[in-house]
Amino acid sequence: MDLSIFSYLFMQNAILAGLLGGISCGIIGVFVVLMHMPFIGVAMSHAAFAGALMGLWLGFDPVIGASIFCLAASVVVGPLADRGQLSPETSLGVIFSLMLGIAFLFIGIIPNTRSAALDLLWGSILTTSGEDIVLLAIVAFLVVAIVLLFEKEIRATLFNRNVALAVGIPATLVLYCIILLTGATITVTLRSIGGLLIFSLILNPAAAAYQLTYSLKRMYLLSATFGVLSCWIGLIISYYLNIPSGATIVITSSLVFMLAAIFSPKRKTPELTQSSIQEAKQ
């Protein structure tokens, strides 16, 4: 078997990035799916895009600009939704449009710098540096640690914010922290994974996991596993067929979802037996 895939440093980094990014994206994907806010991926990547352009305009590292914008946006989403009595998804839409506006503004002001910012939006797992790996590892560790430590508070808040509040959990704070953690994860994974890839890597593994279980704990585990598998299988296919890795990872994660949906036990209908009909009649 051809094992040359492991001999290149960039592939080793990509495989590590797939592991770490797959775990973080898989876990925050569970929040995103259960809170019905898939748009957060797109909104955050555009916040990063606008932030990177601002960084270029002001002459500092676009990555720092992107991080500031992403974090600021994720801090604002929750309170904006509450203050305006909107759903978080609508609040995200408002932020998304603002970010898009800012991005266009900078594109107009500073010509010929578009590609640097666009790189961030598209990203590439194959250019992941050692420094990126360290950042990805920190975020993956944080995400896993927070979910383990605050499992019950998060579970209650995802179940129903008012119920969580009523039993004495500071659910509003928990919710804002969940959104902030999601934003922070996206910010850090964006550089190595890319804005478009991140959307599918958050959504598909969690949506696939949701097809297969009624347990939240198992959903976290399955989703993280699917996230990592999508990255790894996508990378292998891309390496041996010599096609773009972003595309293969996105398509793999979609296939994982489709397979999960097909084999979902949730879709099976219980058999209507003669005895059950008799029972109902009595």
Binding site: L34, Q85, L149, F150, K152, E153, R155, A156, L158, F159, N160, N162, V163, A164, L165, A166, V167, G168, I169, P170, Y210, T213, Y214, S215, L216, M219
Partner: protein, 260 residues
């Protein structure tokens, strides 16, 4: 029955431009079983959520168990107040089992960084058995019917071991049998656990006929507060619902005869 466990003074609550409560004062003593009735949109739910601090007070003060519900210890105070919200307020697609939903009642008491112990699970199972839902413990919550979910919500409150029990239309949209059973269940829990209970309903048929006290709410004000036999008369109902007395006479449930 002398200790005031809930003391509301001149509570004003508004949602944007709508004023839901216009200066309501109410004192509830330990062990009372109170029914709060009134038309839709009269402020009943708001009155209930003022007690556990889920709504923001524009004016006034609320003391629960001797402490300010909007003070710094509101999360701790809420742990002592069980709250059953209206049916259908939960996401039916949430991957969580009935038993886990009941355990949420204990999450606040447990506090941060502590996992449910064997005793916690025992209390949750006991609560489930009390509402007769043990056989559905492992089912996803979304697979249950409205009445069953309502029982689970009551079990969640039981697992919380509260001192005060707040129920918001727990029987709305339930069939007659489920409605009767839930009313009996609530009364039994109230007696066995020596709770202070407030029970909100717009449906006079769902009025717990064993309650000690009835509060009539209309247009954000308390317009009546007395024992059920003194308060539930044709005249008061006619005023409460803006219906002519003769219509009320035909339609109204016969509360006096039921309690005899």
């Amino acid at each position: 029955m002398t200790e005031a466990v809930i003391q509301i003074e001149n509570a004003v609550v508004s949602y944007r431009e709508t004023i839901a409560l216009r200066g309501v004062s109410l004192a509830v003593e330990k062990g009372e079983f109170i029914a709060v009735i009134g038309p839709n949109g009269s402020g009943k739910t708001t009155l209930l959520t003022v007690i556990n601090g889920l709504v923001h007070l524009t004016q006034g003060q609320v003391q629960v168990l001797g402490r300010d519900i909007n003070g710094g210890n509101r999360h701790a105070l809420r742990r002592q107040v069980g709250y059953v919200a209206q049916v259908s307020n939960i996401d039916q697609r949430m991957p969580i089992s009935v038993r886990e939903v009941v355990m949420i009642g204990r999450y606040g008491l447990l506090g941060f960084f502590r996992q449910p112990s064997r005793r916690d699970w025992l209390l949750a199972d006991e609560a489930l058995s009390m509402v007769g839902m043990t056989h559905l413990a492992k089912r996803p919550i979304g697979h249950l019917s409205g009445g069953e979910q309502q029982r689970v919500a009551i079990a969640r409150c039981l697992a919380q071991e509260p001192d005060i029990f707040l129920l918001d239309e727990p029987t709305a949209s339930l069939d007659w049998k489920a409605q009767t059973e839930i009313l009996e269940l609530v009364k039994r829990i109230h007696d066995e656990r020596h709770l202070t209970t407030l029970f909100v309903t717009h449906d006079l048929d769902a009025l717990p006929h064993t309650c000690d006290r009835v509060i009539l709410v209309k247009d954000g004000l308390i317009v009546g507060d007395n024992t059920p036999d003194k308060l539930i008369s044709t005249e008061t109902l006619s005023r409460l619902y803006n219906l002519p007395a003769e219509v009320v006479e035909v339609r109204r449930p016969h509360i006096h005869t039921r309690s005899h």
